[in-house]
């Protein structure tokens, strides 16, 4: 079990390096976030290649392509909701947006983006304004996942063509 302080969360590199495959975050009274190791396909630290993104799809390339397309399409809207919540300093909306992103991104990776979404959600739930800073990291990480999915699905499309 690894332990992180809230401020660590803003560093996406640290999250990527240390929390791939994590599944849940508890917030104990000392303000530290405990990240527990959990089940799921192994996703290499920071790796967002096609193989790792497809791991949860059990080798079903067609399913992966279709679900990726939905994520790529929905991503701008989900990020816009996150940004709007940040702009309005609305913790309730931020929590909801982070929760939705967590669900969406976890279909592809249990790594840093999911972790950042989870921490944002937890911080917002507890009324912590650090959530707005964490959400910035979340936005960047989700954008990385989206870009990786675009690359991963484009290469398949090209190969099939």
């Amino acid at each position: 079990m690894a332990t992180y302080r809230a401020q660590d969360v803003v560093c996406s590199r640290q999250i990527q390096a240390a929390t791939a495959c994590s599944d849940s975050v508890d917030m104990p009274s000392n303000g530290e976030y405990q990240v527990k190791s959990a089940p799921g396909p192994a996703v290499a630290s920071g790796a967002l290649d096609r193989a790792s993104l497809m791991a949860r799809f059990e080798g079903d390339a067609e399913l992966f392509e279709e679900v990726s397309a939905v994520f790529i399409h929905e991503c701008p809207r989900m990020l816009a909701e996150l940004k709007a919540a940040r702009d309005h300093e609305d913790l309730v909306a931020l929590r909801a947006a982070a929760h939705t992103l967590k669900g969406a991104v976890s279909n592809f990776t249990g790594g840093a983006a999911r972790e950042a979404a989870l921490v944002t959600e937890q911080q917002a739930r507890h009324g912590q304004h650090e959530a707005f800073r964490t959400a910035e990291t979340l936005e960047a990480l989700v954008t990385e996942v989206k870009a990786a999915l675009v690359r991963a699905t484009a290469s398949t499309t090209k190969r099939l063509a």
Partner: protein
């Protein structure tokens, strides 16, 4: 077959839709939140619902509450989509009753196998006495009301008509004739019945061996059961023109008259334990069958009615060794590498309360309103409690304690 997928995350909805399409030839309807889901449920005939827990506007638990409180949708199969380990959330979900759960992020292989299993179990459920959540009134069930009030008879037809085959009579004589000719399942006896007054009508019906299987419910303006209904009458309904209020009362009273055979609480128990554990650990728990197990499990007697005349006034609340072993087997399927021991201990700690909550709800659904004896449960309880924290295999004992707790909770409610 038509399935409704309710999730605010379009990516997860698409994954579920496509994974279902791989195995099932179903029509799929989607909803983005709970309110949209209710609109779809009102507009269409949905056969199964896949329901996310956390959603904007209206969450999954609120939708589940609405479904379970609706006569039309109470028995609709619901498969919960969850990665929510919070014990309170799991407690609410399990108490309300779901058919199965899928752990998020969704796995295509798990979707297929779990859903196939859940649907198969649902298909078998109506044959299991006491397991149906909406068996209180059915289309094939005939209900006769005798009451001199024409307005109330019209209200009765309009309100109960959608749930059962309904007949009315304005006098006791006419009711007697209809009972002899049509043998309704239930007779509701109101007031103003003419020469054949309510007590005379009940007396004549109970004296006729061909008609004594008809369940009789008294209907009166009072909140208390009328004096004439103390013998030979299974329950009482207060006269009202509120459709919801009348149906709720009727459902409760009717539940007390229909337990011809013992409800299968053991299955409810086993399913609740399996779901509670699986959701709290965010793993898919399988229940294994262990045939040829002895049947000398834990038993409690539950009184279904304060009436002394009903032949169906008692059911056996039974936790057989089979179901206890099934839960123990379920624990065996958990990959200990996937979950931490602390999580398992925590889940076990919550399990008793959650299962007890589900059991109490199930008993209420069957109209249980009084526990008349739980001596055997009590005598077994100390020994069982002593073993609950020993190991995962102690799940069997955990279940038995949960059963005892559920019985005690009902007893407390009466007191």
């Amino acid at each position: 077959m038509k399935a409704l997928l309710v999730d605010d995350d379009a990516t997860s909805r698409r994954l579920l839709r496509l994974a279902l399409a791989r195995s099932f030839d179903w029509e799929i309807v989607e909803a983005n939140d709970g309110m949209e889901a209710l609109r779809e449920l009102e507009a269409q005939d949905i056969d199964v619902v896949f329901l996310d827990v956390h959603m904007p506007v209206m969450d999954g638990i609120e939708v589940l509450e609405a479904l379970r409180g609706s006569a039309k949708h109470a028995a609709l199969p619901v498969i919960m989509l969850t990665n929510e380990k919070d014990a309170d959330t799991v407690r609410q979900v399990v108490a309300l009753g779901v058919d199965d759960y899928l752990v998020k992020p969704l796995s295509p292989g798990q979707i297929s196998s779990r859903v196939a299993r859940a649907i198969a179990q649902y298909a078998q459920r109506p044959q299991t006495a006491g397991a149906s959540r909406s068996s209180w009134l059915q289309a094939g069930c005939t209900v006769l009301l005798v009451d001199g009030d024409a307005e109330f008879r019209a209200f009765f037809k309009k309100t109960v008509g959608p749930h059962a085959t309904v007949m009315t009579a304005e006098s006791g004589v006419e009711a007697m004739r209809l009972c002899a000719e049509l043998r309704p399942h239930t007779l509701l006896v109101g007031s103003g019945t003419g020469l054949l007054t309510p007590p005379l009508l009940v007396k004549r019906l109970r004296a006729n061996h061909q008609l004594d299987a008809i369940s009789i419910l008294a209907v009166s303006m009072d909140k208390e059961r009328p004096e004439w209904a103390s013998e030979g009458v299974a329950g009482h309904v207060t006269k009202t023109f509120s459709a919801a209020g009348f149906l709720t009362q009727l459902r409760r009273a009717y539940g007390t008259t229909t337990a011809d055979t013992a409800p299968n609480y053991a299955d409810t128990l086993a399913t609740a334990a399996e779901q509670a554990l699986g959701m709290m650990l965010a793993v898919h728990v399988e229940r294994l069958q262990e045939p040829d197990a002895p049947h000398d499990g834990l038993t409690a007697t539950v009184d279904l009615s304060s009436s002394t005349a009903s032949a169906n006034e008692r059911v056996w609340l039974h936790c057989s060794n089979d179901s206890a072993r099934a839960i123990a087997s379920a624990f065996k399927t958990i990959d200990v590498d996937q979950v931490s021991e602390a999580d398992v201990r925590s889940a076990l700690g919550e399990l008793i309360g959650i299962i007890a909550g589900r059991m109490q709800q199930a008993m209420r659904e069957h109209g249980v309103n009084r526990v008349c004896s739980n001596a055997r449960v009590e005598s077994a309880r100390p020994a069982l409690e002593a073993t609950t924290s020993v190991s995962l295999r102690a799940a069997a004992a955990t279940v038995c304690v949960a059963l005892a707790t559920a019985v005690d909770m009902s007893a407390d409610a009466v007191a």
